[in-house]
Amino acid sequence: MAEAGAYLRLAAAWFRSAAQYPLSLALLTLSQVGAAMSSVLAIVFVFGHARVLSGFDLGDVLFLYALSGLAFGLADFAFGSVEQLGTHIRTGTLDTMLVRPVSVLVQIAVDRFSPRRLGKVVPAAITLCYALPRLDTDWTPARIAMVPATVLCGAAICTAIWILGASLQFYVTEAREAANSVTYGGSALTEYPLSIYGQDVMRVVTFVVPLAFVNWQPALFILDRPDPLGLPEWVRFAAPAVAVALLACAALVWRTGMRRYASTGS
């Protein structure tokens, strides 16, 4: 994995650069932590009024939030800046990246890499540690193993969605905000049990934009709840397959976009 090596080497260099402005770094990290915390607070405030939302209590929802927050946070941590693709095309920095011996995807993803990107991950991790012991479930080895597997697959799915969204900008340079409605919108959507959105939304996020596999389907297994859509049991274990398929799709679309750029220069 030459790409992974390049990513790490460059991330280290960006990290050292960011560390030269500790105050700015601290404020920026804090704002990321704050953004994640405001989601947690909103959940806590909501449950201050309702004890149970469509069969899920505060602990369950915090658990769902933590899985979603970790998945989106990790994807954003490693690949979030691919959403800047349109800017790189407009300002010509993409051409600069093309004359360097490192994959463009790695260069864009690692651009301005800073530990502040962890700001979203840490509150989610703390929330997970808080929620896990409060879950009312029978902790079999399979359920225990499912927790880290879900985080991993969720992060992969979110990364793929992020790259797919960014690839749109090869065709429409202003597509960034539209893609945000899926990435950030998806992150907001998966903070709560999908059952509150009704069957139509659940079908869309299962079969069209497979956000249901980021946390919902695996969580149904961990929490041992019935699937409101009545999907078969095995769907709860489909996250790895969905992640692989989506990543392959993202790689294909990205490559197609790059080829198009090389033939049109715009």
């Binding site: 390049a6 080497r9 460059l10 280290a12 260099a13 960006w14 050292r16 650069s17 300002t91 010509g92 920095t93 051409d95 600069t96 093309l98 004359v99 360097r100 011996p101 490192v102 994959s103 260069q107 080829r259 090389a262 033939s263 049109t264 220069g265």
Partner: protein, 336 residues
């Protein structure tokens, strides 16, 4: 892989056509093919310094982008350092350095030093080698005082010196520069030219540059290629270009007082404005200057060199028929 005498750039009938899609009626789209470069053929040998000239929109940057692997040609065969640029872009990147004069390849908000550190990791240059080369380049380009300055705070000249350093840190054998002196002041221009000449002489770095500045060509390029309407229209040295498309130099004379047009052999007044007169020179400027200063009381004299645009424009005025044979033994077609 490449023999020492093998060409650094080998272009054979290289062309690039863009497909423009226009929406006509409703959702139907009409595609128009617009050739940007057609059948460009040339070779560049190691150690050459080549000026790639032409009016705006002639296909200069399209050619450059194909050479460095950013754009895929639609026709012909292209080899740079023995590689096919668009397909072997990453391998090629190790062997070439690229400078875009209009925009920096450095990171806008990072100090120069950090930009260089990032590049070292990108090109995987061993630390000791990097340090030695950086030291040398920093000394040659007098960059030491600015290493801690973020790029956005650098002047254009300082930034260009930073960009040159960045392009050479991995010791490329070919340096491609797009308008390296554009917008620079006289001192910075001279520094950049001196530096490039030195790199070429001492390290044998092959240099290909586009420019609008005749000074760049005169001081740097032993060979000149002119591209127009997507074709190589001239390939030779500057003297040859001038002989082919002579553009007279202009002598601007500020007389002590307004006077009727100056009448001296070898010069013709083309414009007057109060005490100032413009003389188009046909022959030796020294003789004309001597004669003018003998006949008139002079406040000031300036000799204006024709710029590259004039030479290139003249080249085309001499050959108005677009299907006439080009000088490089090439055939021009109307590409419209």
């Amino acid at each position: 892989m490449t023999a020492p005498s093998a060409p650094v750039i080998d272009a054979e009938g290289v062309g690039k056509e863009f497909v423009l899609r226009r929406r006509t009626r409703g959702l139907r789209r009409a595609a128009t093919r617009v050739p940007a470069v057609s059948e460009v053929s040339f070779t560049v040998r190691p150690g050459e310094t080549v000026g790639y000239l032409g009016p705006n929109g002639a296909g200069k940057s399209t050619t450059l982008k194909m050479l460095v692997g950013i754009l895929t040609p639609t026709a012909g065969r292209l080899r740079v350092a023995g590689l096919e640029p668009a397909r072997q872009r990453t391998e090629l990147a190790y062997r070439i350095g690229v400078v875009f004069g209009q925009r920096t390849t450095l990171w806008w908000d990072l100090p120069l030093r950090d930009s260089f550190a990032l590049l070292r990791r990108m090109y995987r240059v061993p630390a000791a080698e990097h340090r030695a080369r950086l030291e040398e380049l920093v000394e040659l380009l007098e960059l030491a005082p600015f290493l801690a300055t973020p790029v956005r705070q650098l002047s254009l000249g300082q930034r260009m010196r930073g960009d040159l350093t960045a392009a050479l840190l991995h010791d490329p054998s070919l340096l491609v520069l797009d308008e390296p002196t554009i917008g620079l002041d006289v001192v910075s221009k001279a520094a950049v030219r001196d530096f490039l000449r030195r790199m070429n002489a001492e390290r044998g770095t092959t240099i290909l540059l586009t420019t609008h500045d005749l000074g760049d060509v005169e001081r740097l390029c032993r060979r000149v290629m002119v591209i127009d309407h997507g074709r190589v229209a001239f390939d030779g040295d500057l003297a040859g270009l001038r002989a082919l498309a002579p553009v007279p130099r202009t002598l601007v004379v500020d007389l002590a007082a307004p006077a009727p047009p100056i009448d001296v052999p070898g010069a013709r007044v083309i414009r007057t404005d109060g005490p100032r007169q413009w003389l188009e020179l046909a022959g030796n400027p020294a003789a004309v200057i001597a004669r003018v200063s003998h006949d008139h009381e002079i406040a000031d004299l300036t000799l204006r060199e024709p710029d590259i645009e004039d030479v290139v424009t003249r080249l085309y005025r001499e050959r108005p028929d677009p299907s006439a044979p080009a000088i490089a033994g090439d055939v021009r077609h109307n590409v419209e």
